[in-house]
Amino acid sequence: MIHVLPSIIDGLLIGFVYGVAAMGLTLIWGVMRVINLGHGATMALGMFCTYFLFSDLALNPYLGMVAVVVLSLLFGFLIYGVALQRVIQSGYLSTLLATFAVNMIIIGIGTAVFTTSPRNIDFSAGSITLGPVILQGTRLLAALAAVVITGALYLFLYFTRPGKAIRAVSDNRAAAELMGIPSSHVLALAFGLGTMLAAVAGGLTSTFFPFTILSGATYQLKSFVICVLGGLGNPLGALVGGLFLGALEGIVPTFMPVSWVPVVEFVLFVLVLVVKPTGLLGAK
């Protein structure tokens, strides 16, 4: 049982990054009632963006993240304007399919341009040995970055005007509109932020895992699980859900084959949805 500790720590570190991706998804859901099926593809774009900044411009991946933030925010606005604005009122099926179409377009163009050969950011931040635990520097930094981003998001949502507007719309869309918050701008902003979080999470992941344009799919599914565990529409819940999932991925393999982890994850996902759709944290 010596390996439990490193396992859990590895899980928690990656959990922070999962959490950031899931926060994006849950923010979009909370404000827009849209399940963004283009989330994974956006993450993959974040990975590529970081990769090219690193390999072509020799930009440190963590500095590169600033560029990723700006670009992905704009990209989010673009998607909202082109694919979502028109159908945002037509119910969840339309928006699901619109985001799925965006996903197909990104993956399609990505495959044609980047091919699907795996890429690797050859960046090492060393590793730290603490007794039986060996921590990879890149994972540690990614977790740190995730905490910083969460903090920044919190400050934004609670202490700025647009942030408060987003929260207001998330809580009650009809009421917020009555009070004159420009809903459509808020929706665009929320989608931009969600996209940004996805791209950043992708960028962070790319510093320690190889990736292709298709890599986002796995993380997108994990994000769904996390959002449901943490309560759909609850950004803080998403972070906690991410940590929970990370820890689960660390603990479960210690007593059953690793390949059973997804079975546990998705069964848990369905159970929580059915029994407590507000999430493990949420009120009944």
Binding site: D10, S117, I134, Q136, S215, E249, P253, S259, P262
Partner: protein, 422 residues
């Protein structure tokens, strides 16, 4: 329709044959194009290996045609032509495209796509439509337990892939007892490690960990964390991308063991890009440019030699595709062509039944090693003649990674080393 098409081709061939024998000038031999149909993963997760394989095959086609084609006893000259599609590493596409290759493009012979899973899917279609398929880049034993009679294998079967590594371990570290196996859960890797496990346990080793990961896995931390302390060897892996990542993470996590032996990726030249992480990693290769197969050795064993020598193959390959040395995927692609060429020459025909009989009979040495097929109904087409070469990455004089053949002794170009302290 197909029957009709075949019949017509027959009639045409017979007609041509009669026509030309009647003609006084034998120099005007009939020329016929033989279509080789295959799909390749130009996109999808297996494209690196697949493209090498295609390069090998295309080199063979080019050389055959340059040499004037295959001449049949009746004077017909066969020119080779390739017809291929991108299968995107997707099985559905493979089946759809092979059906198309057979029925629409009228392929005479089929070469398999790269990887056991895809080859398996294609083999079903080949057999259903009664076409001969030479599999290259596919080594699942199980493909040949399904009752196919027209599918022939170029590679050493998966179950024997890492057997040499176990033998090497016994030599290198006689006190070693415990092996941990981490493998991709696809057909090929599963067949390999099942064979490995059986072989290792037969030799008295203890398999202390046996875990599979999904194709496309990038995070191996949960697996690496499960490796028990004091393990003597870590074995397994899968295909290039995942095995490379596994190797890197084994290094980053400072896993201490005597030997790391992995599938598929280590023989690849690109594996050297891992730098320090690849040092001492052992892999098994279907073929290496340093291989010592020669017409003389073949003669000593009393087996016929066929095709170019190892040196010629490497030279021609580099001339066509640039500096990079051919890998075993490329060699396998070329060898698949040779297998077919030899059989067609022997059969003196491209008739499926006749070529099949020639293939069943085939026993030869090539630059790629010996080729001989199982002809029992239970495992028809399984490769019996060919042997694996065990390689290891070591540091050369400049400290750069260098690939050394270490086993079997007959093929070795250097001494094997134990995994250094990390």
């Amino acid at each position: 329709m197909r029957r009709l098409g075949l019949g017509l081709t027959y009639l045409a061939l017979v007609g041509l044959f009669l026509g030309f024998t009647a003609l006084p000038n034998p120099a005007l031999a009939a020329e016929k194009t033989v279509t080789l149909g295959f799909t390749a993963s130009q996109t999808g997760k297996l494209n690196v290996e697949a493209i090498r394989q295609i390069n090998g095959l295309n080199l063979w086609i080019e050389q055959v045609n340059k040499a004037g084609g295959i001449k049949l006893p009746d004077g017909t000259v066969l020119k080779m032509a390739a017809k291929f599609y991108d299968d995107e590493s997707n099985k559905d596409r493979v089946q759809e495209l092979y059906t198309r290759l057979i029925n629409t493009d009228k392929a005479d012979f089929l070469i398999s796509p790269y990887s056991s899973g895809l080859a398996d899917a294609a083999a079903v279609v080949a057999q259903q439509n009664k076409r001969i398929m030479i599999t290259a880049g596919a080594s699942s034993d199980s493909t040949h337990f399904k009752g196919f009679s027209l599918v022939y294998m170029t590679y050493t079967p998966a179950s024997l892939y890492l057997a040499g590594a176990v033998d090497l371990l016994a030599k290198l570290a006689p006190e070693a007892k415990k092996i941990a196996i981490i493998h991709e859960k696809d057909k090929f890797s599963t067949d390999s490690v099942n064979g490995l496990r059986k072989y290792a346990e037969g030799k008295g080793y203890q398999v202390v960990m046996f875990e599979g990961y999904d194709s496309g896995t990038t995070d191996f931390a949960p697996f690496i964390n499960k490796i028990p302390a004091g393990v003597d060897a870590v074995m397994g892996g899968g295909h290039f991308a995942d095995t490379t990542t596994l190797t890197r993470q084994l290094y980053e996590k400072k896993v201490q063991t005597k030997m790391i032996a992995l599938l598929v990726a280590p023989p690849e030249p690109k594996f050297a890009e891992l730098g320090e992480a690849c040092i001492s990693v052992v892999g098994s290769s279907q073929w290496e440019p340093v291989a010592k197969y020669s017409p003389e050795a073949a003669k000593a064993e009393g087996v016929e030699w066929f095709g170019p020598t190892v040196a010629d193959f490497v030279k021609e390959y580099q001339a066509k595709y640039g500096k990079e040395e051919p890998s075993y995927h490329s060699a396998g692609g070329y060898a698949a062509g040779l297998i077919l060429q030899k059989a067609i020459e022997k059969a003196g025909s491209i008739d499926t039944e006749k070529v099949k009989a020639a293939l069943d009979d085939e026993d030869m040495y090539t630059f790629y090693g010996r080729i001989k097929f199982d002809t029992t109904p239970k495992a028809h087409g399984l490769q019996l003649g060919h042997q694996m070469i065990i390689i290891q990455w070591q540091k050369d004089k400049q400290g750069k990674p260098e690939k050394v053949a270490v086993y079997p002794p007959a093929a070795a170009t250097g001494q094997a080393m134990v995994c250094p302290v990390r």
